[in-house]
Subunit: 277 residues, 2 copies
Protein backbone atom coordinates (compact mmCIF):
# COMPACT_ATOMS: atom_id res chain seq x y z
CA UNK A 1 0.00 0.00 0.00
CA UNK A 2 2.72 2.46 1.01
CA UNK A 3 4.64 4.00 -1.83
CA UNK A 4 7.45 6.51 -1.96
CA UNK A 5 5.80 9.93 -1.93
CA UNK A 6 6.70 12.42 -4.60
CA UNK A 7 7.74 15.67 -2.86
CA UNK A 8 5.26 17.76 -4.82
CA UNK A 9 2.42 15.68 -3.40
CA UNK A 10 3.24 16.87 0.12
CA UNK A 11 2.47 20.47 -0.80
CA UNK A 12 -0.83 19.49 -2.44
CA UNK A 13 -3.95 20.65 -0.60
CA UNK A 14 -6.22 18.75 1.75
CA UNK A 15 -9.72 18.37 0.26
CA UNK A 16 -12.67 18.78 2.62
CA UNK A 17 -16.30 18.41 1.67
CA UNK A 18 -19.65 18.73 3.39
CA UNK A 19 -23.27 18.89 2.33
CA UNK A 20 -23.26 22.56 3.26
CA UNK A 21 -21.43 24.93 5.56
CA UNK A 22 -21.33 22.91 8.79
CA UNK A 23 -18.08 21.28 7.69
CA UNK A 24 -16.41 24.67 8.06
CA UNK A 25 -16.01 23.88 11.78
CA UNK A 26 -13.95 20.84 10.74
CA UNK A 27 -11.94 22.95 8.30
CA UNK A 28 -11.38 25.48 11.06
CA UNK A 29 -10.04 22.80 13.40
CA UNK A 30 -7.77 21.51 10.60
CA UNK A 31 -6.41 24.98 9.82
CA UNK A 32 -5.79 25.70 13.48
CA UNK A 33 -3.92 22.44 14.01
CA UNK A 34 -2.15 22.29 10.61
CA UNK A 35 -1.65 25.89 9.46
CA UNK A 36 0.93 24.88 6.85
CA UNK A 37 -1.55 22.71 4.93
CA UNK A 38 -3.34 24.27 1.96
CA UNK A 39 -7.04 23.39 1.87
CA UNK A 40 -9.85 23.15 -0.65
CA UNK A 41 -13.38 23.17 0.79
CA UNK A 42 -16.48 22.14 -1.11
CA UNK A 43 -19.91 22.86 0.37
CA UNK A 44 -22.69 21.23 -1.63
CA UNK A 45 -25.09 24.01 -0.68
CA UNK A 46 -27.36 23.37 -3.67
CA UNK A 47 -28.28 19.97 -2.24
CA UNK A 48 -28.01 20.52 1.52
CA UNK A 49 -29.14 18.77 3.68
CA UNK A 50 -28.11 15.21 2.84
CA UNK A 51 -29.62 13.78 6.04
CA UNK A 52 -33.20 13.18 4.88
CA UNK A 53 -32.17 11.84 1.46
CA UNK A 54 -31.94 8.23 0.32
CA UNK A 55 -28.67 6.38 0.94
CA UNK A 56 -28.12 5.86 -2.78
CA UNK A 57 -28.56 9.57 -3.47
CA UNK A 58 -26.10 10.47 -0.73
CA UNK A 59 -23.53 8.06 -2.16
CA UNK A 60 -23.84 9.66 -5.59
CA UNK A 61 -23.42 13.15 -4.11
CA UNK A 62 -20.36 12.06 -2.11
CA UNK A 63 -18.71 10.55 -5.20
CA UNK A 64 -19.38 13.74 -7.17
CA UNK A 65 -17.83 15.84 -4.39
CA UNK A 66 -14.82 13.52 -4.26
CA UNK A 67 -14.31 13.74 -8.03
CA UNK A 68 -14.41 17.53 -7.76
CA UNK A 69 -11.74 17.57 -5.06
CA UNK A 70 -9.53 15.04 -6.89
CA UNK A 71 -9.73 17.30 -9.90
CA UNK A 72 -8.22 20.03 -7.69
CA UNK A 73 -5.24 17.76 -7.01
CA UNK A 74 -5.85 17.05 -3.31
CA UNK A 75 -3.54 14.63 -1.48
CA UNK A 76 -6.22 13.50 1.01
CA UNK A 77 -10.00 13.79 1.36
CA UNK A 78 -11.83 14.63 4.58
CA UNK A 79 -15.57 13.92 4.59
CA UNK A 80 -16.62 16.69 6.98
CA UNK A 81 -20.22 15.50 7.08
CA UNK A 82 -21.58 12.88 9.42
CA UNK A 83 -24.30 11.78 6.99
CA UNK A 84 -21.94 11.35 4.06
CA UNK A 85 -19.42 9.55 6.28
CA UNK A 86 -22.06 7.18 7.61
CA UNK A 87 -23.49 6.42 4.18
CA UNK A 88 -20.61 6.73 1.75
CA UNK A 89 -17.17 6.32 3.38
CA UNK A 90 -16.36 2.98 1.69
CA UNK A 91 -17.52 4.33 -1.70
CA UNK A 92 -15.36 7.44 -1.36
CA UNK A 93 -12.37 5.33 -0.28
CA UNK A 94 -12.82 3.07 -3.30
CA UNK A 95 -13.01 6.08 -5.60
CA UNK A 96 -10.34 8.36 -4.23
CA UNK A 97 -6.95 6.67 -4.61
CA UNK A 98 -5.71 9.03 -1.85
CA UNK A 99 -6.21 8.66 1.92
CA UNK A 100 -9.76 9.37 3.06
CA UNK A 101 -10.93 10.35 6.54
CA UNK A 102 -14.50 10.64 7.77
CA UNK A 103 -15.74 12.39 10.91
CA UNK A 104 -17.31 9.37 12.61
CA UNK A 105 -14.26 7.25 13.46
CA UNK A 106 -12.09 10.00 15.05
CA UNK A 107 -14.91 11.24 17.30
CA UNK A 108 -15.82 7.79 18.38
CA UNK A 109 -12.22 6.75 18.96
CA UNK A 110 -11.60 9.82 21.12
CA UNK A 111 -14.76 9.09 23.13
CA UNK A 112 -13.80 5.46 23.67
CA UNK A 113 -10.43 6.56 25.07
CA UNK A 114 -11.86 9.37 27.17
CA UNK A 115 -14.67 7.48 28.86
CA UNK A 116 -14.05 5.95 32.26
CA UNK A 117 -17.29 4.03 32.65
CA UNK A 118 -17.82 3.19 28.98
CA UNK A 119 -21.26 4.81 29.09
CA UNK A 120 -21.10 7.16 26.11
CA UNK A 121 -23.75 9.48 24.70
CA UNK A 122 -23.88 10.49 21.04
CA UNK A 123 -25.92 13.42 19.72
CA UNK A 124 -26.42 14.40 16.09
CA UNK A 125 -28.97 15.07 13.41
CA UNK A 126 -31.78 12.61 12.85
CA UNK A 127 -29.98 11.26 9.76
CA UNK A 128 -26.73 10.61 11.62
CA UNK A 129 -28.40 8.95 14.58
CA UNK A 130 -30.68 6.78 12.43
CA UNK A 131 -27.68 5.64 10.38
CA UNK A 132 -26.40 3.91 13.56
CA UNK A 133 -22.90 4.70 12.33
CA UNK A 134 -21.61 5.30 15.85
CA UNK A 135 -23.07 2.09 17.14
CA UNK A 136 -21.42 0.17 14.35
CA UNK A 137 -17.87 1.24 15.20
CA UNK A 138 -18.23 0.76 18.94
CA UNK A 139 -16.87 -2.75 19.30
CA UNK A 140 -13.73 -2.13 17.31
CA UNK A 141 -12.56 0.33 19.97
CA UNK A 142 -14.16 -0.64 23.21
CA UNK A 143 -16.18 -3.82 23.37
CA UNK A 144 -17.55 -3.01 26.84
CA UNK A 145 -18.94 0.41 25.94
CA UNK A 146 -22.63 1.21 25.98
CA UNK A 147 -23.83 3.86 23.55
CA UNK A 148 -26.86 6.03 24.18
CA UNK A 149 -27.97 8.00 21.14
CA UNK A 150 -30.19 11.05 20.81
CA UNK A 151 -31.17 12.95 17.66
CA UNK A 152 -31.30 16.71 18.26
CA UNK A 153 -32.82 18.08 15.04
CA UNK A 154 -33.34 21.56 16.49
CA UNK A 155 -29.67 22.20 17.23
CA UNK A 156 -28.64 23.01 13.64
CA UNK A 157 -31.38 25.62 13.12
CA UNK A 158 -30.69 27.03 16.60
CA UNK A 159 -27.01 27.47 15.71
CA UNK A 160 -27.91 28.98 12.34
CA UNK A 161 -30.28 31.38 14.10
CA UNK A 162 -27.34 32.44 16.27
CA UNK A 163 -29.10 31.38 19.50
CA UNK A 164 -26.01 29.63 20.84
CA UNK A 165 -26.30 31.17 24.30
CA UNK A 166 -30.03 31.36 24.77
CA UNK A 167 -32.82 30.22 27.05
CA UNK A 168 -34.69 28.52 24.18
CA UNK A 169 -31.60 26.51 23.32
CA UNK A 170 -30.93 25.64 26.96
CA UNK A 171 -34.48 24.33 27.35
CA UNK A 172 -34.21 22.30 24.15
CA UNK A 173 -30.83 20.92 25.28
CA UNK A 174 -32.26 19.88 28.65
CA UNK A 175 -35.09 18.12 26.85
CA UNK A 176 -32.73 16.27 24.49
CA UNK A 177 -29.96 15.47 26.97
CA UNK A 178 -32.10 14.57 29.99
CA UNK A 179 -32.53 10.92 28.96
CA UNK A 180 -28.79 10.55 28.28
CA UNK A 181 -27.85 12.04 31.64
CA UNK A 182 -30.29 9.66 33.34
CA UNK A 183 -28.32 6.81 31.77
CA UNK A 184 -25.25 8.01 33.63
CA UNK A 185 -23.06 8.83 30.62
CA UNK A 186 -19.62 10.26 31.39
CA UNK A 187 -18.76 11.22 27.80
CA UNK A 188 -20.84 12.93 25.11
CA UNK A 189 -19.86 12.92 21.42
CA UNK A 190 -20.97 16.00 19.44
CA UNK A 191 -21.56 14.11 16.21
CA UNK A 192 -22.63 17.05 14.10
CA UNK A 193 -20.42 19.70 12.58
CA UNK A 194 -22.65 22.53 13.82
CA UNK A 195 -22.45 21.49 17.46
CA UNK A 196 -19.00 22.85 18.38
CA UNK A 197 -20.69 26.27 18.53
CA UNK A 198 -22.99 24.94 21.27
CA UNK A 199 -20.14 23.56 23.39
CA UNK A 200 -20.23 26.19 26.17
CA UNK A 201 -24.00 25.85 26.58
CA UNK A 202 -23.92 22.05 26.41
CA UNK A 203 -21.10 21.98 28.97
CA UNK A 204 -23.33 23.87 31.42
CA UNK A 205 -26.28 21.53 30.74
CA UNK A 206 -24.34 18.28 31.21
CA UNK A 207 -22.21 19.50 34.12
CA UNK A 208 -18.53 18.96 34.83
CA UNK A 209 -18.72 15.18 35.19
CA UNK A 210 -19.48 14.64 31.52
CA UNK A 211 -16.70 15.12 29.01
CA UNK A 212 -17.63 16.61 25.62
CA UNK A 213 -15.93 15.18 22.52
CA UNK A 214 -15.84 17.59 19.61
CA UNK A 215 -15.63 15.51 16.43
CA UNK A 216 -14.21 18.46 14.46
CA UNK A 217 -11.17 18.61 16.75
CA UNK A 218 -10.85 14.83 16.84
CA UNK A 219 -10.90 14.70 13.05
CA UNK A 220 -8.18 17.35 12.75
CA UNK A 221 -6.02 15.35 15.18
CA UNK A 222 -6.65 12.14 13.23
CA UNK A 223 -5.76 13.91 9.98
CA UNK A 224 -2.43 15.01 11.45
CA UNK A 225 -1.62 11.41 12.42
CA UNK A 226 -2.67 10.19 8.98
CA UNK A 227 -0.48 12.70 7.12
CA UNK A 228 2.52 11.79 9.23
CA UNK A 229 2.01 8.04 8.87
CA UNK A 230 1.55 8.33 5.10
CA UNK A 231 4.50 10.72 4.77
CA UNK A 232 2.17 13.32 3.27
CA UNK A 233 2.61 16.21 5.71
CA UNK A 234 3.48 19.54 4.14
CA UNK A 235 6.96 20.89 4.99
CA UNK A 236 6.51 23.65 7.57
CA UNK A 237 6.14 27.10 6.05
CA UNK A 238 3.92 30.15 6.16
CA UNK A 239 0.14 29.69 6.60
CA UNK A 240 -1.12 28.03 3.45
CA UNK A 241 -3.97 29.07 1.16
CA UNK A 242 -7.61 28.09 1.61
CA UNK A 243 -9.99 27.92 -1.32
CA UNK A 244 -13.77 27.60 -0.98
CA UNK A 245 -16.35 26.28 -3.41
CA UNK A 246 -20.11 26.10 -3.02
CA UNK A 247 -22.71 24.64 -5.39
CA UNK A 248 -25.26 27.40 -4.78
CA UNK A 249 -25.05 30.94 -3.51
CA UNK A 250 -26.59 30.22 -0.13
CA UNK A 251 -28.55 33.01 1.50
CA UNK A 252 -26.68 34.47 4.49
CA UNK A 253 -23.57 32.65 3.32
CA UNK A 254 -21.20 35.30 4.67
CA UNK A 255 -22.79 35.47 8.11
CA UNK A 256 -23.08 31.72 8.55
CA UNK A 257 -19.66 30.94 7.13
CA UNK A 258 -17.99 33.51 9.37
CA UNK A 259 -19.81 32.09 12.38
CA UNK A 260 -18.81 28.49 11.61
CA UNK A 261 -15.30 29.13 10.30
CA UNK A 262 -14.37 31.83 12.78
CA UNK A 263 -12.93 34.06 10.06
CA UNK A 264 -13.85 35.60 6.70
CA UNK A 265 -14.18 33.28 3.71
CA UNK A 266 -11.94 34.41 0.87
CA UNK A 267 -11.40 32.89 -2.59
CA UNK A 268 -15.00 31.71 -2.85
CA UNK A 269 -16.32 30.33 -6.12
CA UNK A 270 -19.64 28.82 -7.16
CA UNK A 271 -19.41 25.54 -9.09
CA UNK A 272 -21.55 22.68 -10.33
CA UNK A 273 -20.64 19.14 -9.30
CA UNK A 274 -23.82 17.42 -10.47
CA UNK A 275 -22.63 14.71 -12.85
CA UNK A 276 -26.14 14.47 -14.31
CA UNK A 277 -26.12 18.23 -15.06
CA UNK B 1 -58.80 34.32 -22.61
CA UNK B 2 -61.94 32.43 -21.61
CA UNK B 3 -62.82 29.50 -23.80
CA UNK B 4 -65.64 27.00 -23.73
CA UNK B 5 -64.53 24.24 -21.38
CA UNK B 6 -64.57 20.65 -22.56
CA UNK B 7 -66.55 18.60 -20.02
CA UNK B 8 -63.74 16.10 -19.54
CA UNK B 9 -61.46 18.90 -18.36
CA UNK B 10 -63.73 19.53 -15.37
CA UNK B 11 -63.05 16.06 -13.99
CA UNK B 12 -59.29 16.45 -14.46
CA UNK B 13 -57.27 16.70 -11.25
CA UNK B 14 -55.89 19.75 -9.47
CA UNK B 15 -52.08 19.73 -9.45
CA UNK B 16 -50.35 20.86 -6.26
CA UNK B 17 -46.61 21.09 -5.74
CA UNK B 18 -44.26 22.05 -2.96
CA UNK B 19 -40.55 21.79 -2.28
CA UNK B 20 -41.35 19.09 0.26
CA UNK B 21 -44.16 17.97 2.51
CA UNK B 22 -45.31 21.32 3.97
CA UNK B 23 -47.67 21.80 1.02
CA UNK B 24 -49.70 18.89 2.35
CA UNK B 25 -51.44 21.36 4.68
CA UNK B 26 -52.58 23.25 1.56
CA UNK B 27 -53.69 20.01 -0.08
CA UNK B 28 -55.54 19.12 3.10
CA UNK B 29 -57.42 22.45 3.06
CA UNK B 30 -58.25 21.93 -0.64
CA UNK B 31 -59.55 18.41 -0.06
CA UNK B 32 -61.63 19.52 2.90
CA UNK B 33 -63.20 22.38 0.95
CA UNK B 34 -63.46 20.65 -2.44
CA UNK B 35 -63.86 16.92 -1.74
CA UNK B 36 -65.11 16.23 -5.27
CA UNK B 37 -61.85 17.41 -6.88
CA UNK B 38 -59.22 14.80 -7.70
CA UNK B 39 -55.71 15.91 -6.77
CA UNK B 40 -52.12 15.18 -7.73
CA UNK B 41 -49.47 16.24 -5.22
CA UNK B 42 -45.76 16.53 -6.00
CA UNK B 43 -43.30 17.02 -3.14
CA UNK B 44 -39.80 17.74 -4.42
CA UNK B 45 -38.29 16.06 -1.36
CA UNK B 46 -34.98 15.38 -3.11
CA UNK B 47 -34.31 19.11 -3.31
CA UNK B 48 -36.08 20.47 -0.24
CA UNK B 49 -35.72 23.17 1.02
CA UNK B 50 -35.93 25.72 -1.80
CA UNK B 51 -35.63 28.71 0.55
CA UNK B 52 -31.85 29.03 0.77
CA UNK B 53 -31.31 28.39 -2.95
CA UNK B 54 -30.67 30.90 -5.72
CA UNK B 55 -33.72 32.45 -7.44
CA UNK B 56 -32.70 31.01 -10.81
CA UNK B 57 -32.41 27.51 -9.34
CA UNK B 58 -35.86 27.82 -7.71
CA UNK B 59 -37.39 28.91 -11.02
CA UNK B 60 -35.94 25.86 -12.78
CA UNK B 61 -37.27 23.55 -10.06
CA UNK B 62 -40.74 25.14 -10.26
CA UNK B 63 -40.87 24.73 -14.03
CA UNK B 64 -39.83 21.09 -13.71
CA UNK B 65 -42.56 20.48 -11.14
CA UNK B 66 -45.11 22.22 -13.36
CA UNK B 67 -44.14 20.10 -16.36
CA UNK B 68 -44.56 16.99 -14.24
CA UNK B 69 -48.07 18.00 -13.17
CA UNK B 70 -49.10 19.03 -16.71
CA UNK B 71 -47.98 15.62 -17.85
CA UNK B 72 -50.52 14.18 -15.37
CA UNK B 73 -53.25 16.17 -17.13
CA UNK B 74 -54.06 18.67 -14.39
CA UNK B 75 -56.62 21.42 -15.06
CA UNK B 76 -55.02 23.90 -12.65
CA UNK B 77 -51.75 24.24 -10.75
CA UNK B 78 -51.42 25.32 -7.11
CA UNK B 79 -47.94 26.33 -5.99
CA UNK B 80 -48.22 25.24 -2.35
CA UNK B 81 -44.83 26.71 -1.46
CA UNK B 82 -44.19 30.28 -0.41
CA UNK B 83 -40.65 30.33 -1.76
CA UNK B 84 -41.61 29.00 -5.18
CA UNK B 85 -44.59 31.37 -5.34
CA UNK B 86 -42.44 34.35 -4.45
CA UNK B 87 -39.70 33.45 -6.91
CA UNK B 88 -41.42 31.69 -9.79
CA UNK B 89 -45.16 32.45 -10.07
CA UNK B 90 -44.87 34.40 -13.37
CA UNK B 91 -42.64 31.70 -14.86
CA UNK B 92 -45.08 28.96 -13.91
CA UNK B 93 -48.00 30.99 -15.29
CA UNK B 94 -46.16 31.48 -18.58
CA UNK B 95 -45.42 27.77 -18.79
CA UNK B 96 -48.65 26.19 -17.63
CA UNK B 97 -51.41 27.10 -20.09
CA UNK B 98 -53.88 26.30 -17.27
CA UNK B 99 -54.87 28.54 -14.33
CA UNK B 100 -52.14 28.88 -11.69
CA UNK B 101 -52.54 29.89 -8.07
CA UNK B 102 -49.81 30.64 -5.56
CA UNK B 103 -50.10 30.81 -1.78
CA UNK B 104 -49.01 34.43 -1.34
CA UNK B 105 -51.88 36.35 -2.91
CA UNK B 106 -54.77 34.51 -1.18
CA UNK B 107 -53.23 34.87 2.28
CA UNK B 108 -52.45 38.49 1.77
CA UNK B 109 -55.84 39.28 0.30
CA UNK B 110 -57.59 37.62 3.26
CA UNK B 111 -55.42 39.59 5.68
CA UNK B 112 -56.12 42.91 3.94
CA UNK B 113 -59.86 42.27 4.25
CA UNK B 114 -59.68 41.04 7.84
CA UNK B 115 -57.58 43.81 9.31
CA UNK B 116 -59.31 46.74 10.96
CA UNK B 117 -56.29 48.95 11.57
CA UNK B 118 -54.28 47.90 8.52
CA UNK B 119 -51.36 46.92 10.75
CA UNK B 120 -50.56 43.42 9.55
CA UNK B 121 -47.85 41.01 10.62
CA UNK B 122 -46.40 38.36 8.33
CA UNK B 123 -44.34 35.40 9.56
CA UNK B 124 -42.58 32.82 7.41
CA UNK B 125 -39.26 31.17 6.66
CA UNK B 126 -36.21 33.31 6.10
CA UNK B 127 -36.51 32.78 2.34
CA UNK B 128 -40.13 33.90 2.18
CA UNK B 129 -39.58 36.98 4.31
CA UNK B 130 -36.43 38.04 2.47
CA UNK B 131 -38.25 37.68 -0.86
CA UNK B 132 -40.47 40.60 0.23
CA UNK B 133 -43.29 38.92 -1.68
CA UNK B 134 -45.90 39.99 0.85
CA UNK B 135 -44.75 43.58 0.84
CA UNK B 136 -44.96 43.69 -2.92
CA UNK B 137 -48.64 42.77 -3.13
CA UNK B 138 -49.70 45.07 -0.31
CA UNK B 139 -50.72 48.13 -2.30
CA UNK B 140 -52.85 46.26 -4.76
CA UNK B 141 -55.25 45.35 -1.96
CA UNK B 142 -54.95 47.94 0.71
CA UNK B 143 -52.83 51.01 0.07
CA UNK B 144 -53.01 52.17 3.69
CA UNK B 145 -51.75 48.92 5.23
CA UNK B 146 -48.49 48.65 7.09
CA UNK B 147 -46.72 45.31 6.98
CA UNK B 148 -44.43 44.07 9.73
CA UNK B 149 -42.43 41.00 8.78
CA UNK B 150 -40.61 38.44 10.88
CA UNK B 151 -38.68 35.37 9.78
CA UNK B 152 -39.22 32.41 12.15
CA UNK B 153 -36.71 29.82 10.92
CA UNK B 154 -37.18 27.59 13.97
CA UNK B 155 -40.89 27.00 13.44
CA UNK B 156 -40.52 24.41 10.64
CA UNK B 157 -38.09 22.21 12.61
CA UNK B 158 -40.24 22.64 15.73
CA UNK B 159 -43.30 21.42 13.80
CA UNK B 160 -41.32 18.54 12.29
CA UNK B 161 -40.11 17.61 15.77
CA UNK B 162 -43.76 17.44 16.82
CA UNK B 163 -43.30 20.11 19.50
CA UNK B 164 -46.44 21.98 18.48
CA UNK B 165 -47.71 22.38 22.03
CA UNK B 166 -44.52 22.85 23.96
CA UNK B 167 -42.72 25.25 26.25
CA UNK B 168 -39.71 25.51 23.91
CA UNK B 169 -41.99 26.49 21.04
CA UNK B 170 -43.93 28.96 23.18
CA UNK B 171 -40.68 30.67 24.23
CA UNK B 172 -39.47 30.81 20.63
CA UNK B 173 -42.85 32.19 19.50
CA UNK B 174 -42.75 34.91 22.17
CA UNK B 175 -39.27 35.85 21.01
CA UNK B 176 -40.30 36.03 17.34
CA UNK B 177 -43.72 37.65 17.79
CA UNK B 178 -42.85 40.14 20.52
CA UNK B 179 -41.64 42.83 18.08
CA UNK B 180 -44.76 42.41 15.90
CA UNK B 181 -47.10 42.67 18.89
CA UNK B 182 -45.28 45.82 20.00
CA UNK B 183 -46.15 47.29 16.59
CA UNK B 184 -49.83 46.84 17.43
CA UNK B 185 -50.72 44.40 14.63
CA UNK B 186 -54.34 43.19 14.59
CA UNK B 187 -53.81 40.49 11.94
CA UNK B 188 -51.05 37.93 11.50
CA UNK B 189 -50.50 36.01 8.25
CA UNK B 190 -49.05 32.50 8.67
CA UNK B 191 -47.02 32.59 5.46
CA UNK B 192 -45.54 29.13 5.69
CA UNK B 193 -47.25 25.86 4.97
CA UNK B 194 -46.02 24.26 8.19
CA UNK B 195 -47.50 26.93 10.43
CA UNK B 196 -51.16 25.84 10.46
CA UNK B 197 -50.07 23.16 12.93
CA UNK B 198 -48.88 25.90 15.30
CA UNK B 199 -52.16 27.83 15.16
CA UNK B 200 -53.45 26.93 18.65
CA UNK B 201 -50.13 27.83 20.27
CA UNK B 202 -49.73 31.03 18.23
CA UNK B 203 -53.31 32.06 19.08
CA UNK B 204 -52.43 31.85 22.78
CA UNK B 205 -49.23 33.86 22.28
CA UNK B 206 -50.80 36.69 20.26
CA UNK B 207 -54.05 36.86 22.30
CA UNK B 208 -57.61 37.26 21.14
CA UNK B 209 -57.17 40.71 19.63
CA UNK B 210 -54.98 39.47 16.79
CA UNK B 211 -56.58 37.50 14.00
CA UNK B 212 -54.58 34.64 12.47
CA UNK B 213 -54.76 34.17 8.70
CA UNK B 214 -53.96 30.64 7.58
CA UNK B 215 -52.70 30.85 4.00
CA UNK B 216 -53.53 27.17 3.38
CA UNK B 217 -57.23 27.83 4.04
CA UNK B 218 -57.16 31.11 2.11
CA UNK B 219 -55.60 29.35 -0.88
CA UNK B 220 -58.26 26.63 -0.86
CA UNK B 221 -60.96 29.31 -0.82
CA UNK B 222 -59.29 31.19 -3.68
CA UNK B 223 -59.01 27.95 -5.66
CA UNK B 224 -62.73 27.36 -5.27
CA UNK B 225 -63.47 30.86 -6.63
CA UNK B 226 -61.03 30.34 -9.49
CA UNK B 227 -62.56 27.00 -10.54
CA UNK B 228 -66.05 28.51 -10.54
CA UNK B 229 -65.04 31.61 -12.46
CA UNK B 230 -63.17 29.56 -15.07
CA UNK B 231 -65.98 26.99 -15.29
CA UNK B 232 -63.56 24.28 -14.25
CA UNK B 233 -65.24 22.94 -11.10
CA UNK B 234 -65.80 19.21 -11.02
CA UNK B 235 -69.45 18.09 -11.03
CA UNK B 236 -70.37 17.03 -7.51
CA UNK B 237 -69.81 13.37 -6.84
CA UNK B 238 -68.13 11.03 -4.37
CA UNK B 239 -64.82 12.05 -2.77
CA UNK B 240 -62.24 12.05 -5.55
CA UNK B 241 -58.86 10.34 -5.70
CA UNK B 242 -55.61 11.79 -4.40
CA UNK B 243 -52.26 10.75 -5.82
CA UNK B 244 -48.91 11.59 -4.25
CA UNK B 245 -45.46 11.80 -5.77
CA UNK B 246 -42.14 12.56 -4.10
CA UNK B 247 -38.69 12.93 -5.63
CA UNK B 248 -36.91 11.13 -2.82
CA UNK B 249 -37.95 8.68 -0.15
CA UNK B 250 -37.81 11.12 2.71
CA UNK B 251 -36.95 9.76 6.12
CA UNK B 252 -39.97 9.79 8.45
CA UNK B 253 -42.18 10.45 5.41
CA UNK B 254 -45.16 8.57 6.86
CA UNK B 255 -45.08 10.29 10.23
CA UNK B 256 -44.56 13.78 8.84
CA UNK B 257 -47.05 13.37 6.01
CA UNK B 258 -49.74 12.10 8.38
CA UNK B 259 -49.10 14.99 10.71
CA UNK B 260 -49.30 17.61 7.94
CA UNK B 261 -52.06 16.02 5.87
CA UNK B 262 -54.20 14.83 8.77
CA UNK B 263 -54.69 11.42 7.19
CA UNK B 264 -52.71 8.53 5.71
CA UNK B 265 -50.99 9.08 2.36
CA UNK B 266 -52.06 6.45 -0.15
CA UNK B 267 -51.04 6.00 -3.80
CA UNK B 268 -47.51 7.25 -3.18
CA UNK B 269 -44.86 6.98 -5.88
CA UNK B 270 -41.26 8.11 -6.15
CA UNK B 271 -40.37 9.96 -9.36
CA UNK B 272 -37.61 12.05 -10.89
CA UNK B 273 -38.46 15.51 -12.21
CA UNK B 274 -34.90 16.75 -12.70
CA UNK B 275 -34.74 17.77 -16.37
CA UNK B 276 -30.95 17.62 -16.24
CA UNK B 277 -31.04 14.02 -14.96
Amino acid sequence: MKQAVDGTVRTAPIGVFDSGLGGLTVLRAIRERLPGEATVYLGDTARVPYGPKAAETIRRYAIEATDFLLDKGVKAVVIACNTATARALPDVEARAGVPVLGVVEPGWSAAASASGTGRIGVIGTRGTISSRAYNRVIHSHRPDAQVFEQACPLFVPLVEEGWTDDEVTRLAAERYLGPLLKQGIDTLVLACTHYPLLKPLLARVVGENVRLIDSAESTAAALERLLVSEDLASPSGPPAAARYYVTDEAARFDLLARRLLGEEVEHLEMVSVDSTG
